[in-house]
């Protein structure tokens, strides 16, 4: 028995393949959109994975440090280390800022961490960890900084000693890791003009600059020029410790807020990126519907273009099953070409996107199943139309 579908395709294969490629690019866009959505969620999860923390301790009644500002005294970790079950603690600060680089500026999230404590970036793709307690930095690849490059942050120059990958804030800004004390200084210290102005302002205040009390002004100015806060204390727990128990203990007795990884995911995904994720998800749904509709129209019109041929087939006594099989096979073939082209295209252009695009195999399988289902569905509509064709159309038409 001859394969009608194959013969028909080979008869006009150019048209068929180009239709498939066009369809494939559309599917590629849809898959990419799904990848962008997944990437957004994954960025949030990657953010939680960077420091290797089990618990995040932040200012009371805040959803810090990612979703809300949070300030904790930097000696709070000492009290936290005393809580049963806590093995390691590390102070971490976050500050989103612009860093000058090669004439332009790069938007980065400046992360201050203590080397050797939770909050340190775990994996480098190049270079080495920070070994000096000042003026060294580890940068995410996406910042564009290179190893051994000197970058200027506020008033000091830092040497980039290591590079990381996929260390981005929930907003997608690449991270720049520096030692905690440098980060605290950056967070607090204004530019020099602001400092001088601030000093003059304090000196002009008679309460701080009294003639009979030498040294008072200097003391006040010194007290203004120090920052002793961090944004979060990351805790690593001893093995087999129930994190919810420790979190409850900290909430109750240390008067700070403590979030477990599950809480953090909830905050990040349900609160912080919820709107943008929903936005993209909505777009994904619409794109899928539109793609499905276009696939259906293409298969339908493809069938209707062959009215005369089908009528001839009917006239020579082809069975309905043969005709239906031909249309269905063509539809599925189109779907398969489209999916392969789409998946390839999406995979190839994913790394070019400025933000992370995560193409999950599960999504691809689901996409393939959906494409095939839509093609089958569209074929059925087309088959119904084909079966209604009058064989007389072959001669009369």
């Amino acid at each position: 028995m001859i394969n009608l579908a194959g013969r028909d395709i080979l008869h006009g294969w150019g048209k068929f393949v180009f239709t498939g490629v066009g369809l494939g690019l559309l599917i590629g866009v849809t898959l990419s959109m799904a990848g962008i959505y997944r990437g957004l969620v994954d960025d949030g999860q990657a953010l939680l994975g960077i420091g290797g923390a089990d618990l995040w301790v932040v200012q009371r009644d805040t959803l810090g440090p990612y979703a809300e500002p949070s300030n904790v005294r930097d000696d709070a970790y000492r009290a936290l280390l005393g809580v049963r079950g806590v093995a390691e603690a590390g102070n971490v600060t976050y500050l989103t800022m612009q860093v000058q680089h090669q004439g332009g500026d790069v938007r980065v999230m400046l992360v201050g961490f203590e080397p050797g404590h939770p909050g340190e970036p775990g994996n480098l793709v190049a270079g080495r960890p920070i070994t000096r307690s000042h003026y060294e930095a580890i940068a995410d690849e996406r910042t564009g900084f290179r190893l051994d490059e000197r970058i200027r942050i506020r008033r000091h120059e830092y040497t980039v000693v290591g590079l990381t990958r996929r260390t981005v804030s929930s907003g997608g800004d690449p991270m720049l890791f520096v030692p905690l004390q440098d980060a605290q200084e950056v967070q607090f210290l204004k530019d020099n003009d602001a400092l001088v102005n601030e000093r003059a302002r304090t000196a002009a205040n008679p309460a701080f600059n009294r003639p009979g009390v030498p040294g008072l002004l200097e003391a006040v100015q010194a007290s203004q020029a120090s920052s002793r806060t961090v944004n979060v204390v990351m805790l690593r727990l001893a093995p087999y410790t129930d994190e919810t128990v420790v979190a409850r203990e900290i909430r109750r007795w240390k008067h700070l807020e403590a979030y477990t990884r599950a809480d953090m995911e909830e905050i990040l995904i349900a609160k912080l990126i919820a709107t943008s994720a929903k936005q993209i998800f909505m777009f994904l749904v619409i794109l899928s519907v539109v793609s499905a509709a276009i696939v259906a129209f293409i298969i339908y019109t493809m069938t209707l273009n062959k009215v005369r041929e089908i009528a001839v087939l009917k006239l020579i006594g082809a069975r309905n099953r043969t005709i239906a099989g031909m249309i269905l096979q063509q539809g599925l073939g189109l779907g398969a070409i489209g999916f392969i082209v789409g998946k390839t295209a999406a995979t190839l252009w994913a790394p070019i996107f400025p933000k992370y695009v995560l193409l999950l195999p599960g999504d691809a399988v689901l996409g393939a199943a959906l494409v095939m289902a839509i093609c089958a569905l569209a074929s059925i509509v087309a088959i119904r139309a084909a079966l209604r064709i009058d064989p007389a159309a072959a001669i009369g038409g």
Partner: protein
């Protein structure tokens, strides 16, 4: 028939090709792809452990010169950077009435001198009067013995002699009092003179004026500094070293000093003091480092970077620090075998500033360890070894 078979074969080949392309893409590009890693081997060689800190240039000996009394500054004779000698007058405070008080004291002393002279004259007079009275009384007593004068007359003469002697005593006492008066007045003069001397600020050492803090006309309180003088030979660095890295720092260790104003040049130095008291708030230890040769002009307060060599290890095993990971509170490294990774615990020693970690135990020379990886490694995870994950800078 052949033609048909050929077409069928083409179709199948195209289909297989498509599936293979898809399979390759899924396995090599997406999340299922093996993690790219780079490896390095354990090396044997010398390691230098150092610790790094930042600090400021300070003068070990700095003298704040100020008055002991609240007063107004009259003159400031030197400015920042001036070289001064020990004992040189550097500033003067307004003495207000101190000069007049000295003059008044002198006058009082002179007046006391006059009183002394008057008392001496009076004493001479009473002494002479007493001599006359005593000889008159003696004569009267002789005459009475021969019966020429009455007993009454003799008694009168005796009384006059006694009274004259008492008058001598009184005059002597007055003279002594007058002398005390003069001494007191002189002591007053000396005291006020010392106060006057305090109003002159002199440098206690040979040094350089590092700060001129107030200008003439300013009123300063007791103890407030007018000028600051430092001994430039005593310049050293007050470096703050993170407590976590300060463990190996000892007095006498060599150090390298880089000034912020001259970052290209490295000065050599030596640890001179390690503070006994650590800063509990900043969690830093204060370490003082002296210059081996003092830079020509170094502003006090300038930021410096200090690198202290804390240990020299001649022949030890080491790996890049980026290879060292912590899994389940245990230090170790990842190793690749047959395309999969496994964690191997190792005991670590020192870490150098250029990023090498000493292996004390657990690994042998030549063992390959994973240095960089695209993402966090999992036990038994698939990896491919590549020369570099990030393309090197052009």
């Amino acid at each position: 028939m052949n033609l048909r078979l050929g077409r069928k074969a083409t179709l199948i080949a195209v289909g297989l090709g498509g599936a293979a392309l898809l399979g390759w893409l899924v396995m090599s590009q997406g999340p299922l792809a093996p993690t790219k890693v780079t490896v390095a081997t354990v090396e044997q060689g010398p390691l230098v452990a150092s610790t790094f800190g930042i600090g400021t240039v300070e003068a070990r000996r700095s003298y704040a010169l100020g008055p002991t009394l609240a007063s107004r500054v009259a003159r400031v004779l030197v400015d920042q950077g001036d070289v001064v000698k020990a004992g040189q007058l550097v500033a003067e405070l307004d003495p207000v009435d101190l000069e007049e008080r000295v003059a008044s004291g002198r006058l009082a002393a002179e007046r006391a001198g006059s009183t002394i002279r008057a008392a001496e004259a009076q004493l001479a007079e009473t002494q002479s009067r007493a001599q006359v009275a005593v000889s008159a009384a003696r004569r009267s007593a002789d005459l009475r013995a021969q019966g020429f004068v009455s007993q009454e007359a003799t008694d009168t003469k005796g009384h006059e002699a006694n009274a004259a002697k008492a008058a001598v005593d009184a005059s002597a006492a007055q003279l002594a009092a007058a002398q005390r008066d003069r001494d007191r007045a002189l002591a007053d003069v000396a005291g006020v003179g010392k106060l006057r001397a305090q109003a002159r600020l002199v440098s206690p050492v040979d040094g350089v004026v590092s700060a001129r803090l107030v200008e003439p006309g300013t009123t300063v309180v007791a103890g407030q500094a007018v000028l600051q003088v430092i001994d430039p030979a005593s310049l050293w660095i007050k470096a703050r070293i993170d407590q976590g890295q300060a463990g190996g720092v000892r007095v006498g260790q060599p150090a390298e000093i880089v000034l912020r104003s001259d970052p290209k040049r490295v000065y050599s130095g030596k640890v001179e003091r390690v503070d006994w008291v650590s800063d509990a708030v900043t969690e830093e230890r204060i370490v003082n480092v002296g210059f081996a040769e003092r830079p020509a002009a170094v502003p006090v307060g300038e930021l410096v970077e200090v690198t202290i060599r804390t240990a020299d290890l001649a022949n030890v095993r080491s790996v890049p620090t980026a290879a060292v990971k912590r899994v389940d509170r245990q230090d170790g490294v990842w190793q690749v075998s047959a395309g999969r990774v496994a964690f191997r615990p190792a005991k670590l020693g020192i870490t150098t500033l250029d990023g090498r970690s000493q292996i004390v135990d657990g690994l042998d020379v030549g063992d390959a360890v994973v240095v960089h990886s695209e993402r966090a490694l999992q036990t038994e995870g698939k990896v491919t070894v590549v020369p570099a994950i990030v393309r090197a800078a052009p």
